[in-house]
């Protein structure tokens, strides 16, 4: 130990301070880098050297550069992020869904068109022979059917979009888990001598965050620094250097024998599965839905099918609930209103003999006022059991035969000729002859009486409700409004929580420029002082050399 020792100490100190400055430089340079955690050079005092009683330290050295990171805070943040993206996805879809139910009281909303249609019938009832008034009824009826079509189709399209996005997100999840597995592999190679591979770990944390936006999961780190990622139900997505890819399929191995029912648009919905090969698939759909992330939000909106589901309307989910209400309106028009349109049965007990007449003496067919696209494809214009009555059982037969799963998107107003619109009733039902008065409005008044009659709507999903047909629309509006408001509320709550956690996490791991500048000064001064040490050492050494001269 001597003056050379001082020079050694000074050299190490210079090295230490310059590495410190470099670390600060790195921090400053990455102040805006997403996922960057601030670093700190961990400085330790050099082991003491010397003998006897006197022990003098050898200065300082950088033991390692560490990431300032709280693992639990990070995990918490990832899960809050998932909650937020889930709520964000739901509220985005529901906002779009409720656009068909806006409260502007304008054309294009089912409620408005129902009132207009019934209003046109009231007008016609005061002068049933009037052709312009009949034209108006046809126009309003056609508008009503078209509005029901578009309202339902909007919901069905959103469900399909959610289903398509589920497939894309599953691909994303697979891509991210693959990257995590790759980072795991690289970590094992590059982490040696107690020094963490800082950037790789930052990268992995960032990957875990992106994964958290899509799906909720848990992680466990092993002693080699490799992260295992697994789903809530224990299924591993990443284990060591391997990742396990999820896939989507419309016909999984666990489907019921008749297959799952279709989506609202009549096409299949996909299930998220893990394929073990040899035809064995494990269903992950429900456990993913329960968690957070965009995938859970999409599943919540699109709905998840249960093994006991028999129709499109048994599926869970906000879109399906509202669509079921619209479908009820369509089916009510197809059954109750069509039946009223036929007039009282002239031959009770047998095939229904309608008693209503149009101006031109024509009598309506069972699905005469409202019908649906595809009604004539081999099912007797909708009356599949040929008993002359428009019934729910006819519709169910058609639904199970696969011709149509829904009627709201296929509903049409079936009267095209003004003179065929039936308004009058047979005046002598007993005789075989048909006598009717042109100005008779019995049928129109009968239909109008049904308008305010409460009936019990049931049979689609879990919904059972007693209401009038216009009341049913109000219920649909409150339903979608309630769902959408709830999702917006949870978005607010989860966004706040996410912000809080992010701030905590940022407050812990983020770079603060002022702090870095302060540290910079600290290291700069220390560097200056260390150089001074060298100078002093140099002077001391030269004095000794001069003494020796």
């Amino acid at each position: 130990m001597g003056i050379t020792g001082l020079l050694d100490t000074a050299r190490r100190a210079l090295n230490t301070q310059s590495v410190g400055i470099r670390v600060i430089g790195d921090n400053i340079a990455n102040v805006n880098t997403a996922g960057y955690t601030r670093r700190r050079a961990e400085i330790v005092s050099q082991i003491t050297s010397g003998n006897g009683d006197l022990q003098v330290g050898g200065g300082s050295e950088i033991k390692k550069v560490i990431r300032i990171v709280d693992k639990f805070l990070n995990q918490d943040y990832v899960s809050k992020l998932g909650d937020k993206t889930k709520a964000q996805t739901s509220s985005e879809f529901l906002k779009r869904a409720e656009s068909s139910f806006q409260l502007d009281g304008q054309a294009g909303k089912i409620g408005y068109e129902l009132t207009e249609f019934f209003g046109s019938l009231e007008d016609l009832a005061s002068n049933p022979g009037d052709i312009p008034l009949r034209t108006q009824v046809i126009q309003k009826g056609t508008n009503l059917a078209a509005t029901i079509n578009s309202t339902y189709n909007n919901l069905a399209t959103l469900q399909r979009e959610a289903d398509d996005r589920i497939k894309i997100i599953v691909d994303d999840v697979n891509r991210i888990t693959k990257s995590i597995a790759e980072v795991n592999a690289q970590l094992a190679q590059s982490e040696r001598d107690n020094q963490e591979a800082l950037t790789l770990r930052d990268q992995r944390d960032e990957l875990l965050r992106s994964l958290g936006e899509k799906i909720s999961f848990r992680t466990v780190d092993d002693s080699d620094g490799r992260t295992t990622v697994y789903l809530q139900n224990g299924f591993a997505l990443v284990s060591g250097v391997n990742n396990y890819e999820l896939s989507t399929t419309p016909s999984p191995s666990f489907a019921p024998s008749g297959g799952y029912p279709q989506g609202l648009d009549g096409k299949s919905l996909s299930h998220i599965v893990y394929d073990f090969g040899a035809g064995s698939q494990s269903d992950l759909t429900n456990s993913i839905r329960i968690g957070g992330g965009e995938l859970a939000g999409l599943l919540e909106i699109r709905g998840v099918q249960a093994i006991t589901d028999t129709t499109s309307f048994d599926t869970s989910g906000a879109l399906v609930e509202t669509a079921a209400r619209v479908e009820h309106i369509a089916r009510d028009l197809l059954t109750r209103f069509n039946l009223t349109y036929l007039g009282p049965d002239e031959t009770p007990g047998g095939t229904y003999q309608p008693s209503s007449f149009g101006l031109n003496g024509t009598q309506p067919i069972p699905f005469g006022l409202f019908s649906f696209n595809g009604a004539n494809s081999g099912n007797n214009f909708g009356d599949s059991d040929s008993d002359g009555r428009p019934e729910n059982s006819d519709l169910n037969t058609i639904a199970t035969s696969g011709i149509a799963t829904n009627f709201a998107s296929r509903l049409i107003f079936n009267v095209t000729n003004e003179r065929s619109l039936a308004s009058a009733i047979d005046l002598d039902p007993a005789s075989a002859s048909t006598t009717f008065a042109v100005g008779d409005s019995t049928i129109l008044n009968n239909i109008l009486a049904q308008r305010s009659t409460d009936i019990t709507y049931s049979g689609l999903g879990n919904l059972t409700v007693t209401s009038s047909i216009e009341g049913m629309y109000s219920l649909a509006v409150s339903n979608i409004g309630g769902q959408s408001a709830r999702s917006q509320d949870s978005l607010k709550i989860f966004t706040d929580r996410e912000t809080q956690t992010r701030e905590l996490q940022q407050s812990y791991s983020g770079v603060n420029l002022d702090e870095e500048f302060a540290n910079l000064i600290k290291f700069q001064r220390a560097f200056e002082a260390s150089s001074k040490l060298i100078k002093i050492g140099d002077e001391l050494t030269s004095q000794i050399i001069q003494l020796l001269r």
Binding site: N32, R38, L94, K95, E98, S99, F101, Q102, L103, D104, G105, G111, Y112, T115, E116, G119, E122, D123, A125, S126, N127, P128, G129, D130, A424, L427, T435, F436, A437, V438, G439, D440, S441, L448, S452, E470, G471, S474, L475, V477, S478, I480, G481, Q483, S484, A485, Q488, T499, R502, E503, Q506, S507, G510, V511, N512, L513, E515, F517, A518, I521
Partner: protein, 346 residues
Amino acid sequence: MSTRISTSQYIQGFIGQVYDTRNKLEQVRGEISSGIKVSNPSDDPGRSGTIVNLQAVSQRVDKHLQRVGAAKDLLQIQEQTVNSSNDVLIRAQELAAQAANGTYTPEVRAQMSEEIFQLREQLVSLANTKHNGVYIYGGTDDGDQPFDANSTFYPTPATGNPLARLHYQLDSAVTSPGQDDTRNVRISDTESIRINTPARDVFYDAINAVERLGRAMAGFRTDLIDADSDGVIDDPNPAGTHLAYTFPGDTNLQVQAIRDAINSINAAKRSNIETELSSIGARTNRLDQTESILATLKENTEVARSSIQDTDIFEASSKFSNLQTTLEALLASGSRISSLSLLDYI
């Protein structure tokens, strides 16, 4: 140790606050410009159903009001028609009173009958009035005119004024069902009102009475027969009932027939025409009342809907200026704080 704030945290927080305030500002601006606070069901899910119901009520009331207006128009036309018929009958009564005077010769009476037949034509055309393409006295068979001319009903006279030979009759119930039915218009959710009266109830007796008067004054017997009491004079009438009087022997018979016809006209006027006029008056009154009830209902409905759905402009504007101030302060403080950096001092 005080809370550590990282630089990006500060900037993100600042951006978040600006974004939040701008969002709120945009929402309030939308509320002000559209005048509507609740435009999506989710804006107030609890009351969105109520809003839909109230909108439907006011839409229905609008329709009812339209129909009430149309019904009033129609009743007004009927009132004019019936008033004109009344005038025609009064003129017929005046002529008949003159003709019943014994000083007139049969020839003069026959000349006066020309005007009576013209008056009958007027009555028939009033009964066959068409409005909006329908015969307003046609019952529910309103595509078909209620009174048709039968030119072979009276075989006499074989020559001369063809109007004297004409008989006007209602359509048969078999070929025109519904001619005696009434039509109702819905004027509220629960009420309907009758907007027509069948021709039989208003004009049938009057036209027949005037026809009898004309025939009697023209010099023909008028003891026409309705053997089956179905309200329609039998066709063909039993022989002899429509033959010409022989003057001077039948003068008294003719005068008596004219007096009978005057009585029939009086009866028709009293029991049909005047009754119809007062009925029209009563129904017009009811329509007026309904109209004012509906107008009040619409106003109340609109007020109720507006209180739930529409923007309170005063509240919204003060909210808007508050938010504006907040945003300005936020931006000012943001730029001032971000300019504070240690970098400037070292």
